[in-house]
Symmetry: D2
């Protein structure tokens, strides 16, 4: 069964991922991989961080004559554009909204605090790489994963122009904005998942999605909208269509009782605003036990939602591989 | 590490749970267990199904002289009030919103379809038992789990009278209602969880919560509210209080970077309306491949949200045990 | 994937097993199950313990209309012939060779010490049940598991008469004897397993076999005999036979590089002598910290090797199910 | 909990390992790591393969200011001295005793066959690295792992001179020899492990040891010697010594009922002779389905037992970390 481990720190030597359980014989389209990496890469326009890294993935193992071997595949991205001096003074004063404080407690003060270390959004690069591999596996079976921004800064279903305007307005205010991403996975046949702990489809998707930094909620189909529905509204009537069992509506998001029903799997994730903002914020000195004020310096994204689309797709694709035991 | 497996079918001989990884020496308060079971039990008033079962848990193993042994604990609830004839004719016509169809595909037509079988809400009884054990473990460490209905049938923060009125109105319409449940876990120290796949606090909670039938969404702290926030609103400023690091607000729901920060862990789950309604619904004949209409007979809950509170608490308590490796 | 959890204590209410990941639709032959249980059951002749229990398995879940449902299957055996008084005085003085002392440390003095509790050989009864189910699954695929006693009390390849004579001689001396069991699994196709940690065929068999009480060693094919071989002797030459790739010899026990090669999987396990003997032995008082002497009373098997054959087969069958992802 | 994934192929770009679950704050002694790597490295004298690689481990992640961060640690060894032409013609004719055939079946012909690919003994280099880290963790708790060659080419307890003579004699005959390695782990306190599947100490050691290429058997304490013992010989009497509970003998190898008893854990593993020998051997053509003869060319070890000592220690050290949840 497919599984992956992401390693690395933002300002260390390299970041990367080891993927195990891949089927053998997949011809890996490295151009398609590069295209996915480019969707996530920073520095594309004024709405993202100016940090520029080409995010080229070097394959250390698991590929032979252009095809997966079935043994562990390791892809590495070397860190090049690191400026550790931006972060060194923050060791004692945790940034609000970041994992600085929790990492300090969890790892006893030994975690690499430079640029967020292992918690950096940069660690989503190897995730996108793993997802690109997973997408190619899924494509062989007619399964596609698509995302769109469904909310940004409180605006529902924003257009491309609105998206940029919202982000640039936040940037002008030395602030950031959150959003929500809708994801549709089409092509999963009925019958995958189980009701039991750790095996239900929703839980498998949630496990992969909450491993994406900044995701704070997930809902399937009507999700929290169910809280305002009656059963007669929420139930999806069955019908025969194209010679097979389908549902007239898809409030269940393609999943009943933890098992896929053959309709598209649809879910939405909530993404918090980037915690790194240039405004003055209240924090504490961990060594001194005093209240302090802080202005986070360095290069930041005023919004990660745009760049998060391929990341969400990657996590979803890996979830599908696990769900279907691909 | 604590883990559990729930077994049984609604109309089989018994349902139950085996809990592994429990610490030894916990004096199990069976009265407290019974009280939790009673909160979930059906037939308490006009808002729930008239099916009456005392849900007495018989312990087969893992307890010696009133204390846990540390070896697997098995609790069993024998099924007594089963009326299989209510369900026999539904084998061919899946009920909308239920797992009848997906179970049929997943298990090749061999699942026990009587009363929902292994998918029945009745299977939450052993989950509540397991949760009651987990709660007693957590109480030893000063950790408490609390829930409340935060939405019912579209009404936010409903009062007890509103809750009953909403449910009885739905019942009168041969319908059901969905809702949302808010949960607060207080007392978890900072430093539990990790950012990585399968280890982050949100993912562990989600895994346990999505194993509860009817849960279709989960959000932590501000959750989907983050989609309308700026970073300056969403970030939780740190402060010293009571001699320790705390946050002024708790939009993060007590979790940063997948690790607890010492503030209460807060989350909300969406629960779909009970799919069993007495209205006529559209379905198909699986054998005939034809469109059909269906009226679901039998005894149903017009709303599971009330009875779900101890179930949500159980799942949350078990999640905390896993998170903290209790 | 198939997995199982055994629960229960020798003198508790019941012992049993929950099996998860079973395929649905297996028609369970309960007569074949009973026959396996009978092979393991005590009290069959003078060579085994006089404790008599019919070891009837009651199925609580997972079977519907005679076939597996695919959801967790729970089988329970109620304890009937328990005489707790035999054991009560042993709480303070651990029996040599038993787990009394290690259990006391591991579980902080809270384990059920009566009759070995969760460590009792009686817990192999649910394992044999689980194995009987696994064997029926494997039989559908043409896979068979067979065992024989290859050593008993130092005698290689003993005959039935020798076996009984060796056991009765030990019994007459208030002693017990150890042995070794050879197991052959035929019918596994080539290509199952992987070289990696937790996935190699030898490791999967070993995991299941070391969960059998009393097993202290396992060797595949030539095993420790390899230590006296040269490569030219130990290598198995390939040949074409019956139109497929086979090996002329089978020193590798059907496994190369952790992957099955299509030849029968052969292994041998070492079983220690029953630690319960009626001779006086040296022990300590855990409370007093003093050296003591002890005579173990109660009903014991002078040799578990005979009764262990179906247990070894059960563990092997479950290992094959895991290996082949049945 | 500590876990590791080894990746890479013998003639690919690099081999390496990702270790997860390490505690933070371990000051990693890279000189001690290098010393362990050197023990395993080839080309040290006439008894091992002339392939020379310095096996320098480059750390990509998980170490900050010389100490472990607690997040995944990735160590990589770049392949330098590869001569792929030695192996290219063997794709169709599997070498007896090797995994060429099973890999071909398992991975559908897509595995990297050059130099054994992912099955190469070279993959034990990252295992030794991981073990060196584990040993440093264990040393902090007073736990030491030691090995010795207990059998080589049929000679019990050979001396250093005998060892070299046995190996060189085999080499002169274009052959190889097998052996057995004894391992002692001292310092593990009583109380680690459990009787249950996947949790017993023997099973955890076996899982890690069978992941070492060439290991075909494992026995704990008296192991297969138990098959010739009576209970009165095999039981280890308890005694008070140095103020604590100990056993007079240690036939159980420090483990009772799957739980450590505080005595040294002792086990022995069987290692098959290196399958690569320069003699002519019988094989088949996979494409032609014909019987063929083969002479394996390239550089080989006439015996891996000497170089396997640090590998066995590494696997044992990682097993102890898992067992004790370090």
């Amino acid at each position: 069964m497919i599984d992956y481990t992401i390693f690395g720190e933002s300002h260390g030597k390299a970041i990367g991922v080891v993927i195990t359980g891949l089927p053998s014989g997949l011809p890996l389209d490295m151009d398609a991989v590069a295209a996915e990496m480019a969707r996530r890469a920073p520095g594309q326009d004024k709405t993202s961080t100016p940090r520029k890294e080409k995010d080229a993935v070097e394959l250390l193992s698991g590929l032979f004559e252009g095809k997966t071997t079935g043994t562990p595949l390791c892809g590495v991205i070397y860190n090049t554009d690191t400026r550790s001096k931006d972060y060194s003074k923050l060791k004692d004063m945790p940034r609000p909204g970041h994992a600085d404080y929790t990492a300090s407690v969890r790892y006893g003060g030994f975690s690499d605090y430079r640029g967020g270390g292992h918690f950096s959004g940069r660690l989503t690069a190897p995730l996108v790489f793993a997802g690109a591999v997973a997408k190619q596996l899924l494509a062989q079976q007619g399964i596609a994963v698509e995302t769109r921004i469904s909310v940004l800064g409180g605006v529902e279903d924003p257009t491309a122009e609105q998206i940029d305007a919202i982000i640039l307005a936040a940037k002008a205010d030395c602030d950031s904005v959150g959003g929500a991403v809708s994801c549709t996975v089409s092509g999963i046949p009925a019958g995958f998942g189980a009701p039991d702990l750790g095996e239900n489809a929703e839980g498998i998707f949630a496990k992969h999605l909450f491993a994406v930094p900044g995701v704070k909620g997930i809902e399937f189909g009507a999700g929290f909208g169910f809280a305002s529905m009656r059963g007669s509204q929420g139930n999806d009537p069955f019908c025969m269509a194209d010679g097979k069992v389908q549902t007239v509506t898809n409030h269940a998001g393609g999943i009943n009782g933890g098992i896929t029903n053959g309709m598209p799997v649809t879910f939405r994730v909530a993404m918090r605003p980037t915690p790194s903002i240039a405004k003055q914020q209240q924090t504490v000195s961990l060594s001194g036990g005093t209240n302090e004020v802080l202005v986070v310096e360095g290069r930041h994204d005023p919004c990660i939602v745009k760049r998060a689309l391929p990341v969400i797709e990657a996590a979803a694709a890996l979830a599908v591989c696990e769900l279907m035991n691909i």
